[in-house]
């Protein structure tokens, strides 16, 4: 088996707040190979965004990566110096953020923001960098890129800005792109276009992709494998088809059943009872047990992430039990 592009092992990221330690990411492990697309799914606050920031080394205080390993092409990113890490960011490893209205600096022109991303990693002249920036804009489907390079972000629509952000992420041909809900803030029609564009570009360049989302429909059409996160932990991983068709963890089951679909017309939607617990006061043992329909005494004990089937791991004491 070839070396995976990214291999995250037992990652722990904690936030040391005044009210206590919030374990935003706890014991998270996953890996993906070159050109692979991984969907990271969960509710807001489940730790998926923090996982993304942890990989890039962009966790702000009071947050801190406190344990685990992030092996990127065999190198542990957590052991790198700040300067080495800076060189990895935006060069081998890029990220696209959730809200395109906020990711571009409002007072700098698009060309400035693109050229600096190239020149931060390669010694090339401004003319060469500008040409590459223009090509990148063209690739993500922006018309008359020459003209658009001289524009300011506020002259672009949300969808266009996200295209620019994706173009910036692609500039240095990274091996991995982490996309943090990049389509959530956009119109549905634009969502489809962006999704299609990213899929095409990654396939063309062989770039691996982590797609963070709460939208199962997006993952279904895009990713090969999926990780479901709940309260900072991965509760289920497997191939997209298997997890979506036949979820084993009661939380995944609840999540999938709460999505409206055509063949459920007229039926009441299932919903997961209760609310996401605060990271500061998680229930002992399995964090989902207070909302879980099949929880019992055993769930007060912390389960382990074990291989339930081939290529299928799950964090639950009773993966097979019927929920109904």
């Amino acid at each position: 088996m070839p070396q995976p592009t990214l291999d995250v092992r037992n990652l722990q990221t904690h936030f040391f707040t005044r009210d206590g330690v919030a374990k935003a990411v706890e014991d998270v492990s996953f890996s993906l190979g070159s050109g692979e697309v991984l969907g990271l799914v969960g509710e807001s606050g489940s730790g998926k965004t923090v996982t993304g920031f942890s990989i890039l080394g962009l966790v702000d205080p009071p947050g801190e990566v406190v344990g685990g390993e992030i092996l990127f092409k065999g190198r542990n990113l957590l052991k790198l110096s700040e300067e080495e890490m800076r060189n990895v960011r935006g060069n081998h490893l890029a990220m696209v953020f959730q809200d395109p209205m906020m990711t571009l600096n409002p007072v700098l022109r698009i060309d400035t923001q693109m050229i600096e991303a190239i020149q931060a990693h390669q010694k090339v002249g401004t003319d060469v960098a500008r040409e590459r920036a223009r090509d990148a804009l063209g690739k993500v489907g922006i018309a008359s890129p020459d003209e658009r390079l001289r524009a300011y972000p506020h002259q672009f629509s949300g969808g266009m800005r996200q295209r620019v952000a994706i173009a910036i992420a692609l500039l240095n041909q990274p091996e991995l792109i982490i996309a943090d809900e990049p389509t959530t803030a956009l119109d549905v029609t634009i969502q489809g276009q962006i999704l299609h564009e990213v899929q095409r570009l990654c396939r063309e360049t062989g770039t691996a992709l982590i797609w963070i989302t709460h939208d199962l429909a997006v993952v279904a059409g895009l990713a090969e494998r999926i990780c479901v996160m709940y309260a900072g932990r991965i509760v289920e991983t497997g191939s997209v088809d298997e997890v979506l068709d036949r979820p084993l963890h009661p939380y995944s089951k609840g999540l999938i059943e709460s999505v409206p679909s055509h063949n459920q017309r007229g039926r009441r939607l299932n919903q997961i009872p209760g609310m996401t617990p605060s990271l500061l006061s998680l229930p002992e043992g399995c964090a989902f047990r207070t909302r879980c329909p099949i929880a019992d005494v055993e769930c007060r004990r912390l389960p382990s992430l074990h291989e339930a089937e081939t290529e299928r791991r799950i964090f639950c004491h009773h993966p097979q039990r019927e929920t109904a």
Partner: protein
């Protein structure tokens, strides 16, 4: 845009007009204009000449017309003390004041922005707390007293810097400048620092508040995700965002610096127009006082006008809002 500028221009003219009316009323109604405008030591013939010149024997509204007409012609009376036109006297002193005010402005920016940005970036550090405590002091300390203390420490006790005057000056395009000679620079340093202290505190606060807001923006994180160096993050991405509000505020504060130079010039015996006005008030040299008031009002109106127009160019939202009202 043109409509906006024309409207602001008209407003400014109205303000100047109102202020001239106010000064006129102050001189001619509240006080005795003969007292105000005529040298107490003048003889009867001189008094009558001045009364005729200013039309003091005519009704008030005609007098005001005279006053305006004379003012428009640059005739704001003659100084009793110096025996020369008040306007010319003030214009002669103006470069010294402007040099002081601009030096103070530059010091406020050069020192204030780095300190403010640092305090914003490392808001928990001890140094930052010291900076902020210093800025509170800077707001509270009376300028004139700080000036005195500076003289006491640096001029009297340590003997490092001269305490009064402009020092050696160089003539550039007919204007005397201090900052081009070492001696002049040593004379300029203390007054400029003294005058800038208040504005520096303001710049520190603005820069810190701006920094704290900007560092948490997504675009800063995105810029870091691009792998930019720390210096590029701070000096390009952060600076450009905080500079716009700071510069705008500072433009408005330039007028304040010119007004406040009255205090600093008195403390350091800096021969600018601020010291001239105080001396003139003491010596009852009223034509100079009136001329100073008219000139400073005009300066203010012009500065405010320029800043307003500049701001509307910088920020399109302001322009649109203003058009609607």
């Amino acid at each position: 845009m043109t409509v906006f500028i024309i409207r602001r221009l008209l407003q400014s003219i109205v303000v100047v007009f109102l202020m001239s009316l106010l000064v006129f009323v102050g001189v001619n109604v509240v006080g005795d204009p003969v007292d105000m405008l005529i040298n107490p030591e003048a003889d009867q013939a001189e008094i009558e000449r001045v009364i005729r010149h200013f039309g003091l024997d005519k009704p008030l509204h005609i007098q005001y017309g005279h006053f305006l007409l004379n003012a428009l012609n640059g005739d704001l009376g003659k100084s009793f003390i110096f025996g020369m036109p008040a306007l010319k006297l003030i214009l002669m002193r103006m470069p010294a004041t402007l040099e002081l005010a601009f030096s103070a402005l530059i010091l406020a920016v050069l020192i204030g922005i780095p300190l403010g940005v640092y305090a914003g970036l490392k808001s928990k550090a001890k140094v930052s707390r010291t900076i902020m405590a210093g800025s509170i002091l800077g707001f509270s300390l009376p300028t004139f007293w700080v000036g005195l203390m500076m003289i006491m420490v640096f001029a009297v006790m340590l003997g490092w810097l001269p305490s009064t005057g402009r020092g050696e000056t160089v003539l550039v395009a007919g204007i005397e400048l201090s900052f081009l000679t070492l001696d002049g620079l040593s004379h300029l340093l203390m007054p400029a620092l003294n005058l800038s202290l208040f504005k520096m505190s303001l710049v520190i606060r603005l820069a810190r508040a701006g920094t704290r807001e900007v560092v948490h923006q997504d675009y800063m994180k995105f810029a870091r995700a691009k792998g930019l160096s720390e210096s590029r993050l701070i000096f390009v991405h952060l600076m450009k965002n905080i500079l716009i509000p700071v510069v705008t505020v500072l433009g408005l504060e330039l007028g304040g610096l010119i007004a406040f130079s009255v205090v600093t010039e008195t403390v350091f015996a800096w021969p600018g127009m601020g010291k001239l006005i105080i001396d003139s008030i003491h010596l009852l040299d009223r034509p100079v006082v009136v001329a100073y008031l008219m000139i400073i009002v005009l300066m203010f109106v012009i500065i405010n006008l320029i800043v307003d127009v500049l701001y509307s160019i910088l920020d399109p939202r302001v322009r649109l809002q203003d058009m609607k009202t």
